[in-house]
Chain length 361, copies 4
């Protein structure tokens, strides 16, 4: 199994949910990027379980910058962030019962019984904390270059937020928000839907909408590192993401060309699209408008309700019902991870295009 | 701009719509795969423009296997397929008018005015013929290993086919069908929708549904080469694809965990999922059930209707209206390309897992 | 078997000695590099067999630029150069007798009997013509940026040329010389040594010395893409190369630190090394002085003399004696190939560092 | 700067000499490889400074397996080994004086003054400890598959050991030897040469000879991942290595084809070479005989003697004379690192060929 992404910049995620550490190594950052541990802590806090609507597992997320930083700046060598695992209760999970919707079964097959199954092992959402921590350094470096990444909850269960309408400021306002919404009014209704599912021993999913502002036109490659493809490659690695669409996405399938096409106009001497149905990408390359995409987040698979399943050790059918701590909804927590992976991909593309020193501010 | 995909197997697509050749080089195929030029011709025929519902450009698609084959089998060296460009009318396209929905603008920015704009250059759908030709060798090699790839038109405009219900035989029945449907009855209505758009000087889009049967459980990597991510990376490079979803995809966002999760059961001594809402992928790895996904195809951007746009040479606003030959719908033609790219990705993943000789039959 | 090199720029070599075409695809060149077919022809001419001291195979090396060039400049898409195979006498080589020192045996094992053995197939030195043609475009682009690559024959058999002493001008003087020497006086003696070996039905080897001028300080990566490692990786792929050393190379092993270290001084306000024992590389990165290295070229393995070997088809011992056309020495011809591969690697490194537009002049 | 190597298996080295940790992450190992911490400790002990002939820096090399191991076996996720830095005396090194022969100058240029210069930072030989620790797991896994890697000191200063003559047993006998020799008698003379250099405030270099036994025939790729190229790529990243040659290497340049070629014969029904002048590699692929190569190790650049150099902060010429702890010879210590990198490359190649489960015993 491989766990490394990137071309000009590479990131490897390591660690298991109940092992010694989880962590990330980011290789290829130029020297001279400011690294502020408080910023990393804030990014981790936004991803952390939130009160009633999340798992009771307390993740302190104390972290160590193990390498790559000298006197407050990256020093040109790999940035390694370590997060020790704490508050681990391995007995919460039974090794032999494959939880429906989880990687327990596929991991068992792949790893021939040698997998660290405790708490989902390497397939736990916990691993995403390492990505969030490491990529927060990249997000800040991008902001210093005028590139802003943000995500809001477009829907949870069937409760919807309003879509993106503005530009960089609207996106910036979402930063490190643990429940990011454009229309704050929807928060109560969404949290009610989560609470309701929790009461039923069940869980809910949703859709996230993300935008990247400030990327110049012409970035991305046609065959095959398109902006859409490179982002999707990273986004689908986030547990629970099952769909990605750009601009009007699947709605385009029932539109006509004359509606779907974004006309061009000249504004301030520059060619831009009047609308942004294409999500800021044509021919795999950025148009200069915001890159806009949506990701489908399936409902958390671990639920208290009884579900038919198989005891993999005994090879016999059985029933699973989670008794451990788990999230009735991870849509809001996934927003941090979507931002982290998006920042990574955008930084990698820009570094490839503009060269290795690009991220140095 | 990069134009190469793959890890264990690599493919580079080259050529411009009105240049000497388009072609593909596939590097990393083992020696001993049968190469049948008639099979390549059939795959190309399925992608070729079809009567009234397609462009009037006649693409003979005569091809040459330039290297990599000896006595009817791959010989372990790169397979190069060349397709000379013929029936080229460069005057059909004006260089300076950016066609809305096309890569004319982004390519101009990226290539600083050195791009071969004739007929869309490297961004023409024509380039996909090279991928279809080269990957047809891989599709056949996969079939010999029991892995079957197929795609049908799930919808065009708002006319829908029935979804996949069966297994490998249903998928096989779609092979090389230039208008692949599970329910033949829908063909007339779909073609009417295309004809209607054509009459209006407009175009329509649609959704393709694809399946891969016969991949064993446990293939794919969690971080970051998930089955979903690796396929999406390739699929988004196909011009006009703007969304990809696996299993129930975006519908999962409004389901509860208890509905969305696929229970496990034991059948013939093996653990399988009862349903396949996850599209055959859990934790980024195959479950052993068919991998099922849908791709959103936007309506063809080139239309006869007038559209607002910009003359890039003169940097002034103008109006575009296609007078050349173009497709009112490319959904059905895209099916061949989706199959080609899917075969490539699946073969690459299986070769990585099982080793370099995997595809040798 | 893989046949692709490079990161920011990628090159795939394809074709077999007696197949339809050999060729190269170079992916990742920016638009705007001038492509002059006469320059390509000159580079090929320098590699071509020379009179008495080479094989009698006449290689016209007529080539086609199949893609990637528009109006005399690269257009941002893959550059594909095709060379059709001509003057092919397949009967010159017997398929079943493994020529000692050749890849006949290893290729048979690897390709399980499906290899195209005719004329050495993909393992023929002929394949290098495609690299020479394609990389000559890169060499010219580098020159336009002030980066000059050159190679001379340091020795053939035991006859030596003088080592590099000067800078860019000395290196430039070697360009496209089919028998590149710094001291022209040595030509006769070297050619006598070749002729003598030929009379004996034997062959000779030698050492090439190469230099790259004009690379700024600080290029290269410590772990693991060192300048030395990246160049060696490419150089060892050239048939017959069996050793690579940088600066004083193996001689450093018997020197003391105080002799081996290059002192630093300030010249014209810049820090430089007084000597260049390190071959222009410290810590895997360029010092700003010329990168200097030597490659050991083994004597051509195909010889007229009888040699013990094995008939691979019959699996019995036999005797081989070349009756076909072959080179008594390929050291001088290898110089072109060393330059081609060196240009490729240097361009790839500089593009990675300075960004994708670097080679555009 | 990038710090990652490998294809099927990837390794990233991180850390700075005087930072918190150095470490290695190895990504792509299959689950099921035994991990024995005592074996790792033994490998580190062989690399550790040895009495009088080494630096006085005491490296305890206490390490933590941070991830990737469960119940004594790899669990299919990245193996991360951490080594905390201890016994650090940052004042031993002055930041502004570029040590001749070191990466101080090139690192300063590359990292624009943000480099962690303390103790050589990321360019310190200390970083190799992480590679030795992590790769020892791979070395053991290879041994379980019958593939044995070993290195002896062929020469230090001008004192020579005898060359390899035997097979796997001879190579195995060298394992974890801190001063590996085939002829033990030479130890005294070699150590005297080191002691003599030390007394003079100077240092010595040498040559290492390595062999890999047990790799089947046909492994390696012609263009461009040859066995020679892939090994060299990794070997040149080891600080102080300035030359690599295979088989008879540079000596082949003055031999004739009839001497240099290795005849083939049949032994026990298998085709093998009678001699091994080619170092076990033909056409970039293994012949089935041991892969034999030599690496030139330059004398340690840090010496007590005065040397001309430049104060990089003040941009003025000055004189350097090491007062800190340093090694008068690192040839013997480099042997461990050569073995580590060789094991890595061989395992990566075999995994690519045989598939992802190859190293599982």
């Amino acid at each position: 199994m491989n766990n490394t992404i990137g071309n000009s910049i590479k990131m490897t995620l390591f660690g298991e949910s109940h092992g010694k550490y989880i962590g990330a190594v980011v290789d290829g950052l130029p020297a001279g990027i400011p690294v502020n541990e408080e910023e990393i802590a804030k990014a981790l806090a936004a991803r952390r379980p939130q009160g009633d609507i999340s798992t009771a597992r307390r993740e302190a997320d104390e972290f160590t910058v193990a390498s790559g930083v000298f006197r407050g700046y990256t020093c040109g060598t790999p940035l390694c962030v370590l997060i020790p695992n704490a508050d681990v209760k391995s007995s919460d999970y039974s090794p032999m019962i494959a939880r429906p919707g989880h990687a327990d079964f596929t991991s068992r097959v792949r790893n021939a019984g040698f997998e660290d199954f405790r708490g989902g092992g390497h397939f736990s959402g916990r691993i995403t904390a390492a990505a969030v921590a490491a990529c927060s350094v990249i997000t800040s470096a991008l902001e210093a270059k005028g590139v802003v990444v943000g995500t809001h909850i477009l829907s949870i269960a069937n409760v919807s937020d309003k879509p993106f309408s503005g530009g960089a400021d609207e996106i910036k306002s979402l930063k490190n928000d643990p429940f990011p919404l454009l229309d704050r009014e929807r928060e109560g209704e969404m949290k009610d839907a989560i609470a309701s599912a929790k009461r039923d021993g069940d869980s809910v999913g949703g859709v996230l909408e993300s935008a990247v502002c400030g990327v110049p036109a012409g970035i991305g490659d046609p065959w095959f590192a398109t902006v859409e493809g490179a982002l999707s490659y990273a986004l689908f690695s986030i547990p629970a993401i099952k769909g990605v669409e750009f601009g009007r996405g699947f709605d385009l399938a029932s539109m006509r060309g004359s509606e779907a096409n974004d006309p061009f106009e000249i504004k301030d001497g520059k060619t831009i699209t009047v609308t942004n149905n294409c999500g800021g990408v044509l021919g795999g390359m950025t148009t200069g408008s915001p890159v806009v995409f949506r990701t489908a987040v399936k409902p958390t698979p671990t639920i208290a309700k009884e579900q038919r399943t198989v005891d993999l050790d005994r090879n016999e059918e059985t029933v699973a019902a989670a008794r451990g701590r788990h999230d009735p909804c991870i849509v809001h927590r996934a927003a941090s991870v979507v931002n982290a992976m998006t920042s990574f991909v955008v930084a990698d593309m820009l570094t490839k295009y503009f060269g290795e020193e690009y991220l140095r501010s």
